[in-house]
């Protein structure tokens, strides 16, 4: 028993320290969670591998600009693909920066630099279904002013950013019946089925053609230039000069709008794996790829993700047990301090899981370490609470008899109180374990791995199959764990209580 505990502790420590400083000879490639970002990151990763100066660690699909940017600045990743418009408006918050050199100069004090433009500009645009636009006679964004009955669904970034909907609406004087926030991948379905009329898209979006969407002309030139660049930590360019030179040589000015849209379509429409699309670009032809479709690769991946996911759950619940049971005991021993302690844990629980994961990034970076910390905190409440409740429910007479028998504090706790509360404590651990299987899918949003990796990717690639490939095994794991704990009950709960 104690050896098992030691193993769990060691694993927890290893996971936490792995998230700290980058070891020598490793370049951590990050990306945001949409197809184009995945592809560009994968191209960069393959170039780095070809040069051979450093090993590559892929930490892709981190989420939006905020998370990815923080990961870069904290050193959890070394580079990721970014867009000039996002850099000036969101990161540097200075729209007057117009040239690459001006932006680069402002990145310097942050320890960052960037490549020249990769060739294409992925600007924001508004899109409608072509047939609907035709019927209403909408060709430009200005034309929307005549149709206040339209319903729009925007990604949350676009809806809130000054260079998104608020600015656009002000400039064009627009009013719409509805503007909702929706995950991008879901909006494609909504617009295809006609539930939504208008959405924000990127101009190199691979879905535009398939869904027969029309880009509305930005007749008053509101949207700024979003040239793609590689954003890197300066120390990378100094430590791996050959790699950096090769990245610039291979990528700068080599991808025009059309080529990028083709690569995006290769993944989004043809179901190719991101690695195939990247390889296709590097071998010269954007459409000459021969790799197997992504769906076959997924099956092999699930085994590795299962191990990953199980480890996330086991370590975080293990840590929560080691922490939660003593906390429950303390709460039962010292009533007033105990109430405070339990309230604090309960408060942690009210923080949405995704937000809790995000809070971990500035403290622990990205990856498994911070995910484990967040998941452990999340699993703490049911365990501490049930331990407390179990101890408080014990018949007072039985405790007095323990005193008369002069068992002593420790013996009373181990021999009498904990066994008598075993059913309640086990129920708490069971709840923690089963819910953690679900919560752990969110770990992928901060690069923690597990089944969530497939869910995040599926959302980004708008691929229900991939989402299910992550969600279904997670549900199965929750069920299995539930069964395992039922068996464990028979082993742990004393016979006399069953």
């Amino acid at each position: 028993m104690s050896r098992r505990l030691a193993l769990v502790l060691a694993g927890l420590l290893a996971g936490a320290s792995a998230a700290a400083a980058a070891p020598d000879g490793v370049i951590r490639v990050g990306s945001k969670s949409f197809t184009e970002s995945y592809i560009l990151a994968e191209i960069a990763a393959q170039v780095i591998e070809q040069v051979g100066e450093a090993r590559v660690e892929r930490r892709v699909g981190l989420g939006g600009t905020g998370v990815t940017q923080r990961a870069l600045e904290s050193g959890s990743i070394d580079l990721y693909p970014e867009y000039t418009g996002t850099l000036t408006r969101v990161v540097l918050k200075d729209a007057s920066l117009l040239t690459i050199d001006a932006i680069r100069a402002r990145l310097r004090p942050r320890g960052l630099t960037m490549s020249d433009s990769l060739g294409f500009a992925n600007t924001y645009a508004l899109a409608m279904r072509a047939d609907r636009a035709e019927a209403l006679g909408v060709r430009t964004i200005g034309d929307l002013a005549a149709h206040p009955e339209l319903r729009a669904a925007f990604s949350s970034g676009f809806l809130e950013r000054e260079d998104g909907w608020p600015g656009l609406r002000a400039l064009y004087g627009l009013r719409l019946a509805r503007t909702d926030v929706m995950e991008h991948a879901l909006t494609y379905r909504a617009i295809a089925s006609g539930e939504v009329d208008l959405m924000d898209v990127f101009s190199t979006d691979g879905q535009l053609e398939r869904l027969r969407l029309r880009l509305l002309e930005d007749d008053r030139h509101f949207f700024p230039d979003y040239s793609a660049v590689l954003l890197v930590r300066r120390e990378l360019t100094e430590r791996f000069p050959r790699t950096w030179a090769r990245l610039r040589e291979t990528l700068e000015g080599r991808l025009d709008d059309h080529r990028m849209a083709r690569l995006n379509a290769l993944v989004d429409l043809d179901g190719r794996h991101v690695a195939d699309a990247a390889a296709a670009f590097l071998s010269g032809g954007a459409s000459a790829s021969t790799g197997a479709p992504a769906r076959h690769a997924i099956v092999g991946e699930i085994a590795a993700l299962t191990r990953d996911h199980l480890l996330l759950v086991a370590i975080s619940v293990g840590a929560a047990v080691l922490l939660g049971i003593p906390m429950g005991i303390l709460a039962a021993r010292f009533r007033r301090a105990g109430q405070l302690e339990l309230s604090v844990i309960a408060m942690l629980q009210t923080v949405p899981a995704l937000a809790l994961l995000m809070f971990m990034i500035p403290l622990f970076g990205i990856g498994k370490g911070p995910a484990l910390v967040a998941l452990s905190l999340y699993a703490l409440l049911p365990i501490a609470r049930n331990t407390y409740a179990g101890l408080m429910a014990i018949d007072r007479t039985l405790l007095e008899i323990a005193w008369v028998l002069r068992l002593g504090e420790l013996r009373r706790l181990l021999r009498i109180e904990l066994p008598l509360s075993a059913i309640t404590i086990m129920a708490g651990i069971k709840t923690a374990a089963v819910t953690t299987v679900g919560t752990a899918t969110l770990a992928a949003f901060i690069g923690g791995g597990g089944y969530g990796t497939l869910i995040v990717r599926g959302l980004a690639l708008d691929d229900t199959g991939t989402i299910l490939a992550g969600a279904a095994p997670a549900a199965l794991m929750a069920l299995t764990l539930h069964g395992v704990f039922e068996l464990l009950d028979h082993w742990i709960v004393p016979r006399g209580l069953r």
């Binding site: 007479t397 039985l398 007095e400 008899i401 005193w403 008369v404 028998l405 002069r406 068992l407 002593g408 013996r411 021999r415 009498i416 066994p419 008598l420 075993a422 004393p494 016979r495 006399g496 209580l497």
Partner: protein, 249 residues
């Protein structure tokens, strides 16, 4: 010897005990008799040191029971409650052995003592492997008694020890208990509301009502020289009345 002098114990506004005095000489059995809520269980808790008096003193063999002494004094006492008060997650033998384990007795000494106690209390030794819920009420009570006797304390405090038993088993156990404490020369304080049990087991009796002593003495004293009409009322309430005569109509 156990002695209470002018002991008052309040719980909130109500007095559980009001100026109660009593003495229990060594190797005698004293019965606290009264209906529920009369304060008789509180006397046991005061002797054990589980609760401390608001006024007056409780002493065991001349030492007052207080915060400083109770941990030491409790070593001289065995405590039995209604239905045994056994730990449901432990087998009967584990329940009985707890106190000896805490005193780091070697295994074989514990085993020898278990056999000895089973003989003493008349428990079938095979029952020792069972969990409490697999035992009958009488067996549970015997196990509870064995547990209290494990370290052979000179004092036994019994709180309604036979309260949960059916009448036949109850009478059988009363006789056994009387013989046992006499043989072992234990000083016993026993709480009951059963008048016949008090008469059968108590060398002396204290009749309590609402926290006050109504009368102290032998059963004969109470029956023949009642201090008040209440005493007679209490003693006769539990005796079986003569059956109604058919000629009553």
């Amino acid at each position: 010897m156990i002695a209470l002098r002018e002991v008052t114990k309040r719980f909130g506004a109500t007095a559980a005990l009001d100026a109660v005095s009593l003495e229990v000489p060594a190797a005698t059995t004293h019965v606290l008799l009264g209906s529920s809520g009369s304060g008789k269980s509180t006397v046991l808790r005061l002797i054990l040191g589980l609760t401390l008096p608001d006024r007056g003193t409780v002493s065991v063999d001349g030492t007052p029971v207080d915060v400083g002494t109770r941990d030491r004094l409790v070593a001289r006492m065995g405590y039995v409650v209604q239905d045994g008060g056994l730990y449901p997650h432990l087998t009967a033998s584990d329940n009985v052995a707890l106190a000896a384990e805490a005193q780091a007795w070697p295994r074989d000494r514990i085993a020898t003592r278990l056999t000895e106690l089973a003989g003493l209390t008349g428990l079938d030794a095979a029952m020792l492997r069972r969990y409490p819920r697999q035992l009958s009420g009488g067996q549970r009570q015997r196990v509870g008694l064995m547990r209290a006797l494990m370290l052979d304390p000179p004092i036994l405090l019994l709180d309604e020890p036979l309260g949960a038993l059916d009448p036949i088993v109850r009478v059988e156990l009363q006789e056994q208990l009387g013989r046992l404490v006499a043989d072992l020369k234990k000083t016993v304080v026993m709480v009951t509301h059963d008048v016949r049990e008090a008469a059968r087991l108590g060398h002396t009796i204290t009749l309590l009502t609402a926290g006050r002593v109504v009368q102290q003495g032998t059963y004969a004293d109470l029956a023949e020289r009642p201090a008040s009409p209440f005493v007679t009322q209490f003693l006769t309430a539990q005796t079986v009345p003569a059956p109604p005569t058919a000629a009553g109509a």
